[in-house]
Symmetry: C2
Subunit: 204 residues, 2 copies
């Protein structure tokens, strides 16, 4: 069955271990890969074009933007960032599932353009654990930590807009849950029915 | 997280190996169990009340039916069969997932009463393999086999009404897919959001 891959967005407040989880998942599963973003910022030492980012001049970025070539985009401190549609669609057509690590604002932009996207929200096991993880960063003042905690809780409210909650308590369990979601979604009737009805010649 | 189990209906044409798949799944996974049906037919030697079936007198069955105590029911050759609501709900509340092996007619009755049910449709890997499996039963005439084939294809059309397609090519893969679906569904935002929002005290 030569099925398209799954496009997934993964978000979650800082302090949930989302970055480590994504790294672990990509290492373990070669059917899932991270999307490569385009950016107008300068490459940092060691960054490779087409691997870490697609590095674009501002004029190029804006032209692509005008031609609706990004799934989502944002401007941060005067630099543009965007998810190139063509790259994502190529991978999906090859049967690769693609993960985008973006925030809720970008995520909602994508949902508008790409109905079939699956939204994952990474969550810490408890309020206490979230506090502990924010504290152990250790480089911030009391006030900064309180602010970070507030903004994490604000983000958690948004989980209502997502499809799945990934409890990141044990990294192996969380990784396995994401793999299960990919497997389940690809077997969903909405994604696979035309394939099956054709295979058995019973029409749509 | 003391979460309710998942209620699943599993259907599929004969010749898909559905029965063997269900047995394998139940053996491997003690968080999933088969529902016990009620029936008015007489127990066969070795059948145990409350294990194989709940054996009821016809008057008892009809009284329960009048009180809406079945999730679905059917009459087959003068005997009644039904899925007792109370049994299923007890198990779900204990966190056990419950599997009902019923046909599309019963399945649709359940969907009306129990929105959160998940529908699984078991499918053979190909038309050819379906033919082969129907043939190897070996006890039927050409005509009977053709009829069985037609009715299998009619059933496959109904997969549009289900949620997931379970390709039963390799039993281990099919079993694992059902387990993945249970895991994914239990992590879905629609089933778990109130738990998480409460846990982090961010209201609903």
């Amino acid at each position: 069955m030569n099925q398209k891959g799954l496009l997934m967005v993964i978000s979650g407040p800082s302090g949930t271990g989302k970055g480590t989880l994504v790294k672990h998942l990509l290492k373990r599963n070669n059917r899932i890969q991270l999307s490569v973003s385009a950016t107008t910022r300068n490459p940092r030492p060691g960054e490779v074009d087409g691997v870490n980012y697609f590095f674009l001049k501002e004029a190029e970025f804006k032209e692509k933007l005008a031609q609706d070539e990004f799934l989502e985009h944002a401007e941060v401190y005067g630099n543009y960032y965007g998810t190139p549609k063509a790259f994502v669609e190529d991978q999906l057509n090859k049967g690769q599932s693609v993960l985008l690590e973006i925030d809720i604002v970008g995520a909602l932009q994508i949902r508008e353009k790409f109905e079939e996207v699956v939204f994952l929200f990474v969550i810490p096991p408890s309020l206490k654990e979230l506090q502990r993880r924010i504290k152990t960063r250790g480089t911030e003042t009391q006030e900064q930590m309180a602010k970070r905690m507030d903004s994490a809780l604000e983000e958690i409210k948004e989980l209502k807009q997502y499809d799945y909650v990934i409890l990141n308590d044990q990294i192996h369990k969380a990784t396995r849950l994401i793999e299960s979601i990919v497997e389940a979604e690809l077997a969903s009737v909405k994604r696979s029915q035309s394939y099956w009805l054709d295979l058995f010649g019973v029409g749509r």
